[in-house]
Symmetry: D2
Subunit: 324 residues, 4 copies
């Protein structure tokens, strides 16, 4: 459902145009120093403002309302709230009769029998990734020496990302992107042989991020085109270090002490300014749809910090990492 | 850990060279007609024998020991056992001091403090996918009209798969492969907005299959290079059918009624006949390793039925599909 | 941890003297009519004010911040917040060095390495049962025709409850009580044979209520002193109705269609005005403790509505009850 | 469903008259010395043979088929099987049309749409507690210094238990009993404030044992009749030891380092030789039922070792106890 994890659990709630969004973190280690300022950098990295991001800017001020006392985590559930302020619900009125192609509008209506909050995508909005980023700030503190770094390596198939964005804006279109994420130094032995392999739990959480459509570990899809003699990482020292890292730091579902490396595919933002043809659910005809409102040309620009957050949340769920 | 699912739960156990492997299915609908013969076809599809697969052939006779009465499921936990007969443990003796590159040997030793069963990969063995296939047979019956089909589309980067295998055998090497899986017809509304998106739960389970290193839904990694105007699937009829299916049948984590489509990358078998250089954990030197024993040139050849099984297990976990 | 349930999940957070407490309900059916007024009666039943209850009175105004749109549940996670206003933290200052006997003060300090919020019991406070009551209001709506009723049958061993309270107040002491809870009409077939028997899941949730120390179903502890010929409930009609209900509506962990009946024991409030001898953790001597602050003479007076709420939450977790 | 636990998970399967019953333990610490002989004593304690127990005697030889190598646990799922040999299914034929009062016959039929295995109670049989006892043997080893002891303190309301049994046999009736269980020495800090209080998880698991109808911790139901000044346990030393133990070793859901103490009520065996009046589901009339077959006069005689096993399974689920 809308929670994830076992030893360290996050539960997310809220809608794009409701009064607030929030997240509860259960299983935080007590005694982690935490201040409101600690959230600033990661929240800023997720914020729009750069070229190719939506002009909707929010204050995004976290409010920690539980599990926090005298600037430390207490060990009890820690809840962080963000008020929604800069909402313009009127922009979305026509979407109820003409669901946006590529967006969750139509499935939300069907799944929730028409009772879903349609304003700004409601609960399906990318706005909720702000809550994930906040949880990630705490999770990053829990996993101590392990650093998680994600970066956009390509947008719209182009490594000159600024040029790709400029072109897409000109075309009133949107573009997707590739993100690479790395965690280091990694302990040996995280993960379980079958259903809770490290790839299993990471991919489970990463696909919770809106717009993610693929994930690969180490050489990933390239591995399918490789020979064993190329792909096998030779162990070269007693601590398990390997000469290459085609496995992305995972063998048999278990971390092997080498860097954890994975890449994810972000699809192009589904809301585009360009007119589209799609079903009008009232008259059941395919008609032109023009999407008003503010949206991102390339949502992938704002996603790396979300990927880092989710990765840190997953890693904080391994007691070997977060409890010792 | 070694179980998966909520409403329909599978728990796997066993080792490659122990007395038996098995799987328990909890949450089976009562009254599903089931006979031992029902398992034959899928078990046969997973068996070696073809060029490029290991010469280790087992009888693979399923023994249903609980949850089954008078040829119907009872609704109680259903356990299926398979005896291990054709084991040659001697083949693996040298692996304890020289863990195979690309294999779980080393992490298994580290994770389980040296108490792991090392024979044939122990619990990490691909042999356990037989239990998944058996569970898949029951799951396929539970999801009724929905048919799941997976096929190998490419091996070693080559769509002439037989040629690719022949070349790899000649080179004493191994190769990876690509598998495409499809489920159809799909109901609308499976999945949850965030952490239990359909992509989340499917990828979680699929990465439990040994050797899987990547997964993509619909256009997947290609989507990262597409424009929104190309990727967005226009809705063209009131039941949600779309003109294209770049989304792979999933929007916002929820099935949209179009075919579910995903592809996975299988890495090359890590056990190869070709000599390799890797650490000897006793003298801590990098030395040549020659792997004896029987192994697959292209494990991806035997994997499609495993992918189908795991997909059916995931789908059977949605009450909308399996209970009505 | 601090969440409960599978299909219908509640996650609780907050501290007695923090800014607010709250609860998130995941898995609400969409389309349940819900207004702020719906919470009034149950919240009032939990409030102090009567003789024998604490003079701390709060406004207890629920604020629904997600999962709710145009007076209906949306199907997305529904979060309800309550601000804490009438807090007097000064009252509790001496408890950090002299933990109250019978209270969670000492274990909270130990479990959370001294980082727990000690004000008013922090996260362990009975204040959080307000959030359970709010969740219960929604759960009661989900389980439709099934009505849950709990009542105090005895306080301090006395069925004249007012007299028992008056005596305890006079003695500056506190007293416990017995609560009986009933749910009717019950469907047949809720629960699972072993670990998720109806008794298992109900007792799991009921023991989350502070001060509960015992639970019995049907004849319960009396059954241990009965003969089979007395205890066995004869089935007298084709719908499973029985002549007696010693089983409390449950056989083999599964509801049998008769009324669900259980009783719980509430211990006396641990905070009493009477001086007590207990450890001073600073000088490690046993010394007199006088507890200041406002507290309940008989917390059991306010507990029946909490028991109803938790019971409704558990019942709403059975898809047979809440989804059809 | 039929599994329990998070860090240490048990999954039970099998039917009274099927080929075998079994249990899988996931999350065992690797390196626990374990031999088949280790199971003997606890299995013997559960076996019938004494006055008041059923004459059905089984060999009850455990077969460890996974997760076990060279007499140590490996860390992989450990499965233990027991063959059913001494079955007489004919004894139960008339129960399908005339479900036994107090037994699960009727609910099993209803829940599983008539597809349940009715022989000997099928999956609902007390026979499955043998698997719990076997899991308990491993769990007891995991929790190291903590010893769990349960004993029958009363049968049919009589502390002279032999006399009580003799009388019940003479009357062709059955009787219930009281069991007290203690665990010691206990660490401080097990359990969670709300839904995973120690009472919550213990009661959840204990109510999986067939015939349990009540549980109380410490003073339990007596606490409802006590004053706070009597019930509060004064802390008398810096390690948390208290002068009395009315709390049964638990405050606020968390262990306080004093002995864990609880009592459970076992109802009288529902199968009795004495004729009973109950519904015939074929002609829908209330008719006399005479139960053939072998059964226990007082199942509580055989239950203490099952209670110990389940308690050890619960305690082994706390990482503080089983991992360090």
């Amino acid at each position: 459902m809308n929670s994830f994890g076992n030893h360290f659990k996050v539960s997310i709630f809220g809608e794009s145009h409701g009064p607030m969004i929030g997240i509860t973190l259960d299983g935080c280690k007590p005694g982690i120093p935490l201040s409101v300022e600690d959230f600033e950098e990661d929240i800023r990295r997720r914020q729009p403002g750069a070229k190719g991001t939506t002009p909707r800017v929010e204050a995004d001020q976290p409010k920690i309302v539980s599990g926090w006392y005298k600037d430390f985590t207490t060990g009890a559930p820690l809840t962080i709230l963000f008020e929604n302020q800069n909402t313009r619900s009127g922009d979305y009125d026509n979407l109820q009769k003409q669901p946006r192609p590529g967006h969750a509008d139509w499935v939300a209506m069907m799944k929730f029998d028409g009772f879903n909050d349609p304003r700004g995508g409601g609960h399906f909005s990318g706005r909720l990734t702000l809550a994930l980023v906040a949880a990630g700030v705490v999770a990053k503190k829990m996993i101590g020496p392990v650093k998680v770094t994600a970066r956009l390596t390509e947008a719209g198939g182009n490594t000159d990302i600024e040029a790709a964005i400029a072109k897409a804006i000109e075309e009133k279109d949107s573009i997707g992107g590739l993100i690479e994420c790395q965690a280091s130094p990694m302990p040996v032995g995280l993960g379980e042989p079958f259903f809770d392999s490290v790839e299993s739990v990471l991919s489970h959480a990463i696909f919770a991020i809106p717009a993610v459509k693929g994930i690969e570990f180490g050489s990933g899809f390239s591995a399918a085109r490789m020979k064993g003699s190329e792909h096998n990482d030779r162990i070269i020292s007693a601590d398990g270090k390997t000469a290459t890292n085609h496995a992305g730091g995972i063998n048999g579902g278990i971390t092997n002490g080498n860097d954890l490396i994975f890449r994810i595919a972000i699809k192009p933002t589904s809301s585009i300014s360009k007119p589209q043809q799609t079903l009008n659910t009232e008259n059941r005809k395919v008609e032109e749809l023009v999407i008003e409102g503010r949206h991102d040309t390339c949502i992938a620009l704002r996603a790396p910090v979300v990927v880092e957050a989710v990765t840190a949340i997953v890693l904080a769920g391994f007691p070997q990492l977060s409890r010792e």
